[in-house]
Structure formats: structure tokens, C-alpha cells
């Protein structure tokens, strides 16, 4: 069954979410720039968020016996807020790190291993 021929359903959202997630992880692992890493985190969070919204949508899963209301949407909103807070803190750390080391290369930030 070719998904491209199907009407838009839950699976399509999950595929997009998974792609986003993997992009995010790869971005986190590959980027040396701290801002890039942060972007990767945003992608990971948004990929997961997409899954929450999709699973929580009544339209995408009509008649499902497991549908339990707006919990998915609520958690998604919660994740967005968390992401905003996390981004604020992380950017502050990045800025502070730049002030101290004149770089935001995460490979340079290995002082905590000692």
C-alpha cells in the first residue's frame, strides 16, 4: 500500500514526525555550533510534538476506542512552553560561554568532564 496514494491520515503525520526527529538528532550530533545543536533540539521536540498532536486528534483517529480527549494537545502546548524556557536558558548559557571563550563550539565545552 502506497502511502502517497492514500488520503491524509495518522501515518502521514507520524512519518513527518519521525523525519523531523531524526533530522533533529542528526543535527544535534553533527553540529559543532551550539546554536545549531539548539536548533536540533527544537526539531526533536517538534517531531515528538507532532506525534502528540496527531495521536490526540479526533479527526485523524475517528472512532478509536483509545481516544481519550485533548491530552495530546495539552501536552504539546506544555512541550512548547518547556522548549521556549529551555531555549532561553540554553541561549543564555551559549552567550555566557561565548563571553568566556570567544567561541560557541561545543567541542570546546568539555571542562565539566574534570
Amino acid at each position: 500500500m502506497d502511502p502517497l496514494t492514500q488520503p491524509i491520515g495518522l501515518e502521514h503525520y507520524l512519518v513527518v514526525g519521525a523525519v523531523l526527529f531524526v533530522c533533529g538528532v542528526v543535527c544535534m550530533a553533527a553540529k559543532r555550533n551550539a546554536v545549531g545543536v539548539l536548533m536540533g533540539i527544537e526539531l526533536v521536540l517538534n517531531g515528538a510534538n507532532l506525534n502528540f498532536v496527531a495521536f490526540g486528534s479526533e479527526y485523524l483517529r475517528p472512532g478509536s476506542p483509545y481516544w481519550i480527549g485533548l491530552d495530546g494537545q495539552l501536552i504539546a502546548l506544555f512541550v512548547i512552553v518547556l522548549a521556549a524556557a529551555e531555549a532561553a536558558v540554553a541561549l543564555a548559557i551559549a552567550l555566557s560561554f561565548y563571553n568566556a571563550h570567544a567561541t560557541i563550539d561545543v567541542d570546546q565545552a568539555n571542562e565539566l568532564k574534570r
Binding site: V25, A29, K31, V37, V106, N110, L112, K113
Partner: protein, 783 residues
């Protein structure tokens, strides 16, 4: 407020204030002002407040029970106030409480003790001022040959003084014998601490120990007496009380002198029963029931009593109590500690070893007067008489100014005991009060002299009259008072009244019991000796030429803080004996009113002493007795004074020639009748020998055993140590090494590279996922 609640409140507060001061000084001590100066103020404040309270209590008492009129009716009206503040514990029928027993004697004693103590506290502020700074004690040589320099102990002095005042007042107000005993020991420990105030001096150290140990001997007798009282009467309380079942338990005095017997001395049932144990056991053996046996015993007790059963126990109780008083009041044969106690600071000698603590023995004899049988009273009289003579003779030869006064104190205490023993309850206690004031005065004067001259030795003094007019004047008043100066039959200083009443009672006693007439003659001779040694002291110190240039140049009048108390005490020493003019308000009527029930009428002959009867004290006031006695006493005192003046003032007689004339006698008396040597030989040396024997046993037998044990334990522990090191330690170390190595390995995983971590997380998650996919059994994961 009614008297029954007012007096315990006033006197209880007066009693506890010095304790509060003591506690405060203990806690703050040297931090109270520079050198602890404020400690003195606190102590003075406490004792002065106590004095005000005590005088208020005295006033309240006098208002409630006016003096004068019919003395016997007054004595019956003025019932003692007794009760308990705090029950400490009830063990069967034994009841230990903190209680009070307040009668005229208690109130008067409170006023006297607080008054004298206040004067002495104020005086000490001046006398002890050297202790505010660091003190160099020239009498102590250290092992490196230098003299000792130490921190001042001003606060400690006042701390002990406060504790002493508290203990002394507690002893006076105590409502039962157990409490009396506790405070009896407390004043003893205060005395010990203050005699040893200059603890670095070997002599002070020895004197403190001597005082304490000699008092233990007396206290042993006292404990025997207490046990006799407890086993015979079943109570320690002076007055009746209600036990937990609501029964009224009669007190000691009402058991010994029941109202039913018109307050005559009766052997109490308990003592009769204790003596008739064998008969009682037999009755119990033969009777059908306990009630029956009790009924029979109750019927038989009067018969046993008239046979004399139990009387011996009563005598033992009395002798035991008196034994404690012998120790505390320094009576023969336990008088040896008091002269040595002069090692303490002079205010201590004045307060503790002249005015109050040593008088506590006399006070206790007065308190327990109803319990004493005629036999005990005779013993008291004889002991007092011997003491008075021995001490007076030693006082004649002593050259240390404080020792003269100390022996004088012993001698005067002998007078009190003699008076009490001869039936003169009022006379003996009257002398206690007057003596407290003039002897405290004399001691403080001697302290002032010592303070000024820096020496105790009278042969180094002389001619101080001009340099120290206040001291000399007040001391003259004291000397006149103790000698009993006065215009015979008209008026006199306090000692005149008290000594006259003692001698009058003795004269009356001698008239009734000619066999004991010598008591009177010794006492009258003692009066002459008193005047002789007192004026010897005064003349040697204050008149004549200065005998030591250095001492004389150094001398000066003491500061005001020291001589004002002297003046106050001198006024009291002068006027205390007489009544307030045109009234019956005075010490003697107060004591007359406080007299214990049943002791006013004299005493019949005792069981073991059929020949001796006690004349009633009021008989001695008759002119037929009073006039000759008064004249005799005056003549004796005058003779003593004239002799002293002839030798030491006018120099008509040469002291050295007299000394040579009485060679062996002088040496014997100067050596204090060799009591110290005798006791050294009889008790101290054998005790030390036994101690060294015990020490040898301890060293060789017990120490040897202990050492052997220790060695074997040590051997065992060496083995134990080996096992510990090799096995236990090895295991622990091995574990630690392994853990450390693993830790080092794991450390390498932490590279610090963020991206690597992310990769690991991703790979790990995927790996976990794969594992779960392949190996997770769905049966376990649930539906």
C-alpha cells in the same frame, strides 16, 4: 496576712536570698565588674535584704506575741509555726521534707545571723579588697623558690559567704531533723571551703582538713542519735504533721513531752517497745491474733516504762545529738579544730567560727532541749565546764591575736553548754546571742589590726591606740562586753547580763546539788580568766611602746567601710543585754517566751542519776542568788582586769618572770595541753600506719593482679591486631582497589564531547529498541 503564713514567707525569702546571690556569683563570678567587684555588692544586697525581712519577721512576731507579763502564759500562747514547703519524699513512714519550724528562737536567730552577717559582709568589702587584683602570697614558696602570685578570688569569697548564710539560715529554720542534718553538713562544707580559702598555704589546707575530719567524728555520733530518734519515735519532724491517710503524726517534742504528762519527760512508746523486743515477740507468739497482742502490749507498756525500759535509748539519742554539737561547737575533746580554723580570712573567723556556725551546736542543744534526760544534761554541763577552763588557760598563753580569740570562743561556747546543761536554757542561749555580737566585733577588730600591721603576732604590735583609734575603741567595747563589765546590780554591757544569768543558774544548781558545786567555781574562775586574756590582748596590741618598728610604721586606721561595721557591732554588743528602758522588750524576755514546753520547772532526778535534780531557771532570778553571784562575777572580772593591767599596762609585774615562775605549767598550757600531740599519737599515727599498710597491700597484691591481667590482655590484643591487619584489612583494601580500578576505566567514557554523548544517546536508544523488539516477551509486557 495571718502570722502562720506571713512568717514562713518572710523567713523563707530571707533564707533563699543568699542562695540566689550564690547562684548568681557562681554563674557570673569573675565577670562581675573589675576583679569580680560586683560579686561583693550582690552578696551584701542579698544578706541585707534578708536582714530587713528577718527584722520584719521579728517585729511581726513581737506584735503578735507581746513580751512581758506572765512568762509561762506567754510561752503557752506563742505556739511554734510549722509546716512543709516541699515534700522531698515519703518512704514508708519515713518522711523527708523541706519544712519550717518557727518559734521565738528561730525568729531571734534569724535576726541575729542576718544582722551580724550583714556587718561582716560590708566589712569584708574592705578587708578582701586585695583579692580584686592579682595576689602575691608571701607565705607560699613555690618549688622554684619564688613566692606564689595568683589571680584574686574576691568573687569566690563572697560566693562561699552567701552559700554559708543560706546554709546557716536553713539550719535555723529547718522543720525536721533530717533537714537540720543536711544544713548542718552544708555549713560544715562552707567552713571547710573558707578555712581553705588560701588553699596554696599548706597550713590552711591542713586546717581545713582537720576541721572537716574532726567534725566527721562528731557527726558520726549525731547520726547515731538520729537513728535512735528515728527508730524510737518514727518521725524526724519537730512538730506534728498529717500523713497521706490523714492521721496526725505527733512530732518529736510532743512525743517526748506529751501534753497528757504535763510536758514532763516521758520515754516514748516506740523506745519502750524497742527495748522490750523480746517480751513483745513472746506476746505475739502466744496471742491468738495481732489485735489481741497489740492490746496486751499497750496494757503492758506503762509497766515496762516504769521499769526503765527504753530510757537508755533516750539517753543515747540525747548523747548522740550532743556529740554532733560537740564537734560543731568545738567542745572538749573535739575542740582542736577551731583554733586552726583561724587560717581562713578574718571575716570568716568572725562570721563562721565565732558568731554563727560554732554557735549552731549550742542552738541545736537548745532546740533539742526537751529530748535531753538529766544524765545527758549533766554530760553537757561537765563537757562545757572542762572546755571553758582548758580553752581559757590556753588563751592566756597564745600570742597569735586570732588564736587568743579562737580559744576565747571555745571557752565562751563552753559557758553556753555549761549553762544549758545546768538547766539554764535562757541563760545559755542568751549568751549565744550576746557572744555572737561581741565576738564578731572582736574578730573584726583583730582583722582590722592584722590588715593594718600585716602580722598576727601580738608581741610585734603595741602602741597602736593612736594610730587606730576607731579599732581600739570598738575593741575595748568588745573586751568590756565579753568580760561582763557593768555596775553590779544596776546596768552593764551585754556580756554582763548573759554571764550573770549563767553564773546565777550555776549557783542555784550548786545549791541544790552540792556535789557539782565545782561547776560554779570553775565558771567564776573562768570569768576572771576571760577578763585577763581579753585585756592582755587589748593592752598588748594597743598600749605601751611599739615593739616592732616595721610593723608600727606600716600601721594605719582601716578605711571607713571597715570601721563603720565595727561601730554598729559595738553598739549592739553594748546594749543587747538589757531591755528597752521601762518596757519588757528585750532579748531575755523573748527567749523566756521561746522556752520549750516543760523545761521551765526544772527537772527531777534521772534514772541513772538519782542524786541530781535541776533547779527551775526562774529561781536564779531571786535576790538571794542573784546579788552574791553578780558581785562575785564582778569581782572575778575586776581581778582579771587588774592582773592584766598590772602585767601589761602598768608593768608592775614582769610577764617574763611570771612565765619563768610557772615554767612547766606554762610550757604545758602553751603547748595547748598537748591535745594535738595526744591525738597525733592516738589517732593520726595509727590511722596513717594502717593507711600505709593498706597502701602496701594495694600496691603489691591488688596492683600485681591488675598488672598481670593487663599483660595477658595485651598479649591477646597483639594476636587480635595481627588478624585484623592481615585478613580484615586485606579484604577491605582489596575491595577498595578493585572499585578504584573499575572507576578509572569508566572514567574514560566521559569524554566531555557533547556530540558524542548525543550520538551515544541516539545509538543507545535505537539499540534498546532493537533489544526490546527482539527479546521482550509480550507475555511479560502485558496485554
Amino acid at each position: 496576712m495571718e502570722l502562720e503564713r506571713l512568717l514562713p514567707l518572710l523567713l523563707g525569702l530571707a533564707w533563699l536570698l543568699p542562695l540566689a546571690s550564690f547562684a548568681l556569683i557562681v554563674l557570673l563570678g569573675p565577670r562581675m565588674g573589675r576583679g569580680g567587684r560586683c560579686a561583693g555588692y550582690v552578696a551584701i544586697l542579698a544578706i541585707a535584704a534578708a536582714m530587713v525581712l528577718s527584722l520584719a519577721a521579728l517585729a511581726a512576731w513581737l506584735i503578735a506575741y507581746p513580751l512581758g507579763g506572765d512568762a509561762h502564759a506567754a510561752a503557752r500562747a506563742a505556739k511554734p509555726i510549722s509546716g512543709d514547703w516541699y515534700p522531698l519524699g515519703v518512704f514508708g513512714s519515713l518522711r523527708i521534707t523541706i519544712g519550717y519550724y518557727i518559734d521565738g528562737l528561730t525568729v531571734a536567730m534569724f535576726a541575729m545571723v542576718t544582722l551580724v552577717a550583714t556587718c561582716i559582709h560590708v566589712y569584708s568589702l574592705g578587708y578582701m579588697h586585695e583579692e580584686l587584683e592579682d595576689v602575691t602570697d608571701p607565705l607560699v614558696t613555690l618549688s622554684n623558690g619564688q613566692t606564689l602570685t595568683r589571680r584574686g578570688r574576691f568573687h569566690r569569697f563572697f560566693q562561699y559567704m552567701s552559700l554559708f548564710c543560706f546554709s546557716m539560715l536553713g539550719l535555723v529554720i529547718a522543720g525536721n531533723v533530717a533537714m537540720v542534718f543536711v544544713f548542718w553538713e552544708l555549713v560544715g562544707i562552707c567552713s571547710y571551703l573558707l578555712i581553705g580559702f588560701y588553699i596554696e598555704r599548706k597550713s590552711a589546707c591542713n586546717a581545713a582538713n582537720k576541721a572537716f575530719i574532726v567534725n566527721r567524728v562528731g557527726d558520726f555520733g549525731m547520726i547515731v542519735g538520729l537513728m535512735a530518734i528515728w527508730s524510737g519515735l518514727g518521725t524526724f519532724s519537730f512538730d506534728k504533721y498529717e500523713d497521706s491517710q490523714g492521721h496526725t503524726v505527733p512530732g518529736i517534742f510532743s512525743q517526748v513531752r506529751p501534753t497528757s504528762a504535763e510536758h514532763a519527760l516521758v520515754v516514748p512508746d516506740g523506745m519502750v517497745r524497742a527495748a522490750a523486743r523480746a517480751e513483745i515477740a513472746e506476746i505475739y507468739g502466744t496471742s491468738p491474733s495481732v489485735e489481741e497482742a497489740e492490746k496486751t502490749i499497750r496494757r503492758l507498756v506503762p509497766g515496762w516504762r516504769s521499769e526503765g525500759l527504753g530510757y537508755g535509748l533516750l539517753v543515747i539519742a540525747g548523747l548522740g545529738i550532743f556529740c554532733g554539737c560537740v564537734g560543731k561547737s568545738a567542745q572538749f575533746p573535739l575542740h582542736v579544730w577551731l583554733p586552726d580554723a583561724m587560717e581562713g580570712p578574718t571575716p570568716v573567723s568572725a562570721l563562721i567560727h565565732a558568731a554563727t556556725m560554732v554557735a549552731a551546736g549550742v542552738y541545736l542543744v537548745g532546740r533539742f532541749y526537751p529530748v535531753f534526760t538529766p544524765e545527758v544534761l549533766l554530760v553537757i554541763a561537765v563537757v562545757g565546764c572542762i572546755t571553758l577552763f582548758i580553752a581559757a588557760t590556753i588563751a592566756l598563753t597564745a600570742t597569735d591575736i586570732k588564736r587568743v580569740l579562737a580559744y576565747s570562743t571555745v571557752s565562751q561556747l563552753g559557758y553556753m553548754m555549761l549553762a544549758l546543761g545546768a538547766g539554764g536554757w535562757v541563760a545559755g542561749l542568751f549568751h549565744l546571742f550576746t557572744h555572737a555580737f561581741f565576738k564578731a566585733l572582736l574578730f573584726l577588730c583583730s582583722g582590722s589590726v592584722i590588715h593594718a600591721t600585716g602580722t598576727n603576732e601580738m608581741p610585734k604590735m603595741g602602741g597602736l591606740l593612736k594610730k587606730m583609734p576607731w579599732t581600739a575603741g570598738t575593741m575595748l567595747v568588745g573586751c568590756l562586753a565579753i568580760s561582763g563589765a557593768g555596775i553590779p546590780l544596776v546596768i552593764g554591757l551585754s556580756g554582763y547580763y548573759s554571764k550573770d544569768s549563767i553564773l546565777a543558774q550555776l549557783y542555784s544548781y550548786a545549791a541544790q546539788n552540792p556535789a557539782y558545786g565545782w561547776l560554779f567555781y570553775v565558771a567564776a574562775g573562768g570569768a576572771a580568766l576571760t577578763a585577763l586574756y581579753m585585756f592582755r590582748l587589748w593592752f598588748l596590741t594597743f598600749v605601751g611602746k611599739p615593739r616592732d618598728e616595721h610593723v608600727s610604721a606600716h600601721a594605719h586606721e582601716s578605711p571607713k567601710v571597715m570601721y563603720v561595721p565595727l561601730v554598729v557591732l559595738a553598739v549592739f554588743a553594748a546594749i543587747l543585754g538589757g531591755n528597752v528602758p521601762f518596757t519588757d522588750l528585750g532579748l531575755q524576755p523573748l527567749l523566756e517566751q521561746a522556752r520549750p514546753m516543760g523545761t521551765a520547772e526544772g527537772a527531777p532526778a534521772g534514772l541513772f542519776l538519782p542524786g541530781v535534780t535541776m533547779p527551775a531557771e526562774h529561781l536564779s532570778h531571786a535576790d538571794a542568788i542573784h546579788t552574791p553571784v553578780s558581785l562575785t562575777a564582778f569581782a572575778a572580772a575586776l581581778a582579771g582586769f587588774l592582773l592584766a593591767a598590772a602585767i601589761y599596762w602598768w608593768r608592775v609585774l614582769d610577764a617574763d618572770a611570771l612565765r619563768r615562775a610557772f615554767g612547766p605549767v606554762y610550757t604545758f598550757v602553751r603547748g595547748k595541753w598537748c591535745f594535738d600531740e595526744l591525738y597525733q599519737f592516738l589517732f593520726v599515727r595509727p590511722a596513717l600506719r594502717i593507711a600505709s599498710l593498706a597502701a602496701a597491700v594495694d600496691k603489691f597484691a591488688i596492683d600485681g593482679l591488675a598488672h598481670a591481667l593487663a599483660r595477658s590482655v595485651r598479649l591477646l590484643s597483639v594476636f587480635d591486631d595481627l588478624i585484623d591487619r592481615l585478613f580484615v584489612d586485606g579484604l577491605v583494601n582489596l575491595t577498595a582497589q578493585r572499585v578504584y580500578a573499575i572507576g578509572l576505566r569508566l572514567r574514560e567514557v566521559q569524554t566531555g564531547r557533547l556530540r558524542q554523548y548525543v550520538t551515544w544517546i541516539a545509538v543507545g536508544t535505537v539499540g534498546l529498541f532493537v533489544l526490546v523488539m527482539f527479546f521482550w516477551s509480550y507475555a511479560l509486557a502485558g496485554p
